[in-house]
Amino acid sequence: MSEAPSDTPLLKVRGLKIGATVYPTGERPRPIEIVHGIDFDLAPGKVLGLIGESGAGKSTIGLAAMAYGRGGVEITGGEVTVNGRDILKSGLRDVRKLRGGEVTYVSQSAAASFNPAKRIMEQVTEAAIFQNKFSKKEAEERAVDLFRKLGLPDPENIGSRYPHQVSGGQLQRCMTALALCPQPDLVVFDEPTTALDVTTQIDVLAAIKEAIRDTGVAALYITHDLAVVAQVSDHIMVLQQGTMVEYGTTDQIINDPQEEYTQALVSVRSIKHIEKEPTDTPLLRVENITARYRGTDFDVLKGINVELHPGQTLAIVGESGSGKSTLARVITGLLPPSDGTITFDGRTLSPDLSTRSLEDLRELQMIYQMADTAMNPRQTVGTIIGRPLEFYFGLRGKAKQTRIQELLDEIELGEGFQDRYPAELSGGQKQRVCIARALAAKPKLIICDEVTSALDPLVADGILKLLLKLQKIEDVSFLFITHDLATVKAIADSIAVMFQGEVVRYGPKSQVLSPPFDAYTDLLLSSVPEMKIGWLEEVIEHRRMESAGN
């Protein structure tokens, strides 16, 4: 481990230990340690990236820099020194001066953090005025200045709007302005771009980076996405389960990772998938589908035409709101289309779920994004997987047990899972059980709706590999809905790019992903962060030149 070179660190953390209390059902509550002694320094004006999977303790460490433990979390040991003072030993009064004064915080969901009943300006300037750093007038001038720096439209007047009157990406930038307004020494960014679409993320990322550089503030940048953190930070600390795995300069971590875990993170999504040729007869043919939700006068889908061949994967890519999940609802029959037909395995599917035959229902299964809500928390894994077997094939008793175990083996879970409840599984295991439930029906087509986007990169990688393996064994087709182009590259045979309810680009993977691109596909493709230092600048520069050329 190499120490950050600095004479007087702004933030000095030594032997930080953080604990929490767990409440296992049926047992006495007991304390556990979630961060086991972390050391690091942060020099003024530098950016340190904290990276790790969920549960690695990165947010908890970030909040410890404000002497705060969220929920039942408690800082149990160590020192956190800001500007030479140990803030863990300070009284409440000093901590109040620290929070929102010297150290500020940008959270993941701006929409949930802003008070919807107050205007943006009032909230952006609140901390600065409360801390007596600026008068109301000065703070407002400062805020407008920051709005301009962050590239928000109409910086003079945007402050008088309410949070719901600006877009998600704009609100996230407002939150950055909020954090920078009191002129802090340190800002804690907690996954500031994770909830945004890729094309929005790149703008917010560039704005944050520029604002950090212009104001000379130091920052802790917390994220699970190594490619993102590589763009903004000077140093990176890799965390796993509350311990430090590796610490180094961004250059070293990205280009020369020493630890095995870091290497795995850097090389994630290295799946190579060779595109299959289309066959003569498609399994699924979606023709001219137009759909709208009841009670609205707006078509969410406009004349969609796609085909999916047996044993292959069609990826539907697009941002949130592009209509890709609605397409899945139409295909499954949950939302009857207002126009168009769906042909499945040579027969026309009835538009409404209630009039479809049991055979149609069985051959078309679905896997959801949130495995947590896709499984009944009061049913065991055995019941969850066993029900389709019983329902479609009438399997009972021993035959059912054997088949459940076969399926569990197929999803690489093995013995001892039948009697567990979903709450007793990890995120990746839950998604595997959902896959097994879909497979139990012996379907011809599985619709995968953002199945990996709620998972950590390494876990998601495992799921994708499993899906590819299962496709080979069971010869099942996947309709893969995602916003993540890296996933698409890894598993698709053909791709449909959706934008505002229309398919703007459709064809075999090799064709869709090679130039010449249409404007939207180009924007989408170039916005996906690459694990390369300086990528952000390249893209921004490239776009600037293009717009200058036009």
Binding site: T25, T332, L334, L353, T373, N376, P377, R378, A423, A441
Partner: protein
């Protein structure tokens, strides 16, 4: 079952005691239910532990038999209201659309009439038998249970696992009893404790007004009515059933609280 908190233990003890007394009333009670054994309003003595009532019956005996009637009617009415209310509520939530609208608006209609007045009107034309009382109270209370059950179920039916069951082609019975009910049980059990208490109060009110359980059968509201004149002379007889009602209320709610606490886990694991 090892870590039962003290409050729940107390609640369990008294609830158990009341129900046992109700079950074995003829064995426990020192005298016959309608037997006149002494003078009017005798003070408590070794012969009559709580004294006698307005016509000389043993008050303890009356209380024990009264508890039997009151608890029986309240229990049956609560069971009826829960079975009917929650099944209708789940059915409305799972079906949605016009089915939901039709049932919900009908329930609103019933709820807009104050239930005591509704009951008084019905009882003034119907014969006052135990069956009629149970049916009436159960039906009236089921509207409240319906509201709760529907509200809880509406939140559950939008979960992905219910959608998955629909996509599988499951019938409405499976969706109601296997997907929705287990996840709605916690709030329903808590509500059941409360509803039982309301049922006790309701039947006592009716009896006090003379429209509930008819003499010579004993019930707690009836005992208050029979002995209310005694209060003027400093006779406690009318207060004992009130104490009984209060103790039953509190203990049942202690138990309900504990059950709610045990089954509500944020992780939704084994309760």
């Amino acid at each position: 079952m090892k870590n039962i908190p003290l409050a729940a233990l107390i609640g369990l003890f008294f609830t158990g005691l009341f129900f046992l007394m109700a079950l074995f009333a003829p064995l426990i009670a020192p005298y016959g239910m309608a037997e006149v054994v002494g003078d009017v309003w005798e003070p408590s003595s070794s012969e009559f532990l709580l004294g006698t009532d307005s016509i000389g019956r043993d008050l303890l005996t009356r209380l024990i038999y009264g508890g039997r009637t009151t608890i029986f009617i309240a229990t049956m009415a609560t069971l009826l209201s829960f079975t009917l209310g929650s099944i209708l509520g789940f059915f409305a939530a799972v079906s949605g659309g016009w089915v939901d609208q039709a049932i919900s608006r009908f329930v609103d209609l019933i709820m807009s009439i104050p239930s005591l007045i509704f009951a008084l009107v019905v009882l003034s034309v119907m014969p006052t038998t135990t069956t009629i009382l149970i049916l009436l109270m159960g039906l009236l209370d089921s509207t409240r249970v319906y509201r709760l059950a529907r509200a809880v179920a509406v939140d559950i039916t939008v979960m992905d696992y219910v959608e998955a069951a629909r996509l599988r082609g499951e019938k409405i019975g499976w969706i109601i009893f296997r997907e929705t009910l287990p996840n709605a049980l916690s709030p329903l059990v808590a509500e059941m404790g409360l509803r039982f208490i309301f049922a006790v109060l309701f039947i006592s009110t009716l009896s006090f007004l003379g429209l509930g359980v008819q003499p010579p059968m004993a019930d707690w509201g009836g005992i208050v009515k029979e002995n209310k004149e005694g209060i003027n002379y400093g006779i406690q007889a009318a207060l004992y059933p009130a104490y009984a009602i209060a103790i039953l209320c509190i203990s049942i709610n202690l138990v309900a609280d504990w059950i709610l606490h045990r089954t509500t886990s944020l992780k939704g694991g084994r309760g």
